[in-house]
Amino acid sequence: MEIRVVENLLKANEAVAAQTLERLAKHGVRAINMIGSAGSGKTALLEATLPRLRESLGVAVIEGDLQTTRDAERIDRIGVPVVQVTTGKSCHLPPQLVLRALDGLDLDAIDLLFIENVGNLICPSEIPVGEHHKVAVLSTPEGDDKVLKYPMLFHLADAVVINKIDLLPHVTCDVGRIRSDLEQVGSRAQIFEVSARTGEGLDGYIGWLLGLVG
């Protein structure tokens, strides 16, 4: 006997993410899910952009990390409110933990909430955490073949930040190829070429972020 079910396999996660979105909406918070490989520079980008965003916006960070509190300490050091979520073995930030992390933040004081996901290109793009926008972070030492290998993330991303362009003279990475591969996965993302280290290209990315807050 065959029984039709037709259920989304992510429905439990999506239901929790919807609760998070509802809570954020009550306080007028926009949330950004930052997704990228381990070491691509997600935390470095936060360190480079938050001090400037803070001049005109309320900002805060939820830091997803497998084991350590190192990234949360880096954000704390620049004086931005941060809640650490340790995911243990999970390869992505589970939406339940993000929902709970909201309790540790003064939502009324926040316009833009950054959620740094666990360093991984697959699972975090499958599992929503209650974000309004996805930002994919790529870095030039990873090479130029990631877009076609992980099409889901790049299809869904609202912005793609190509970080560590200061290293372009030393690494094999064709930024033009990344751009054309993005077209091949139907991307509508804004693309920013930046260096979190030197600050090059950050103006455009910061401008885009400021534009997200109405």
Binding site: M1, I3, A12, E126, M152, G186
Partner: protein
């Protein structure tokens, strides 16, 4: 790696359906998975085998229907599959204003129950 997370959802959701509908022995679990999800069937089957071991679902077979990526043109309405290696453009009118209308599925479709 993400196959394991998907396998976990399958075990949880199918157990829930089996419980609520009083199904005894499930022999086959049919899934619809979009090509964009980049799911490796063998990895999903293996993950399911491991995670279902001590559950009533142990031994059930996973059958995956892969759903191709399809794009629908906003200008002329034509539905097409993007050519591998090329940008997503409408083959009928050349427009780049297209929307993906299938290929993202991650769905539990049906269960086969032993009578």
């Amino acid at each position: 790696m993400h196959e394991l997370a998907i396998a976990q959802s399958i075990v949880e959701q199918v157990e829930e359906v089996a419980r609520s509908q009083g199904l005894a022995k499930i022999s086959t679990i049919r899934l619809r998975i979009g090509a964009l999800r980049a799911v490796v069937p063998e990895a999903l089957e293996f993950g399911f085998e491991v995670l279902s071991q001590d559950t009533p679902l142990a031994g059930a077979r996973i059958v995956i229907e892969e759903i191709p990526i399809r794009i629908t043109c906003h200008e002329c309405g034509a539905i097409s599959s993007p050519e591998p290696g090329l940008a997503w453009l409408c083959p009928a009118c050349g427009s780049a204003v297209v929307e993906m209308t299938s290929g993202k599925e991650l769905q539990l479709d049906s269960l086969e129950v032993e009578d």
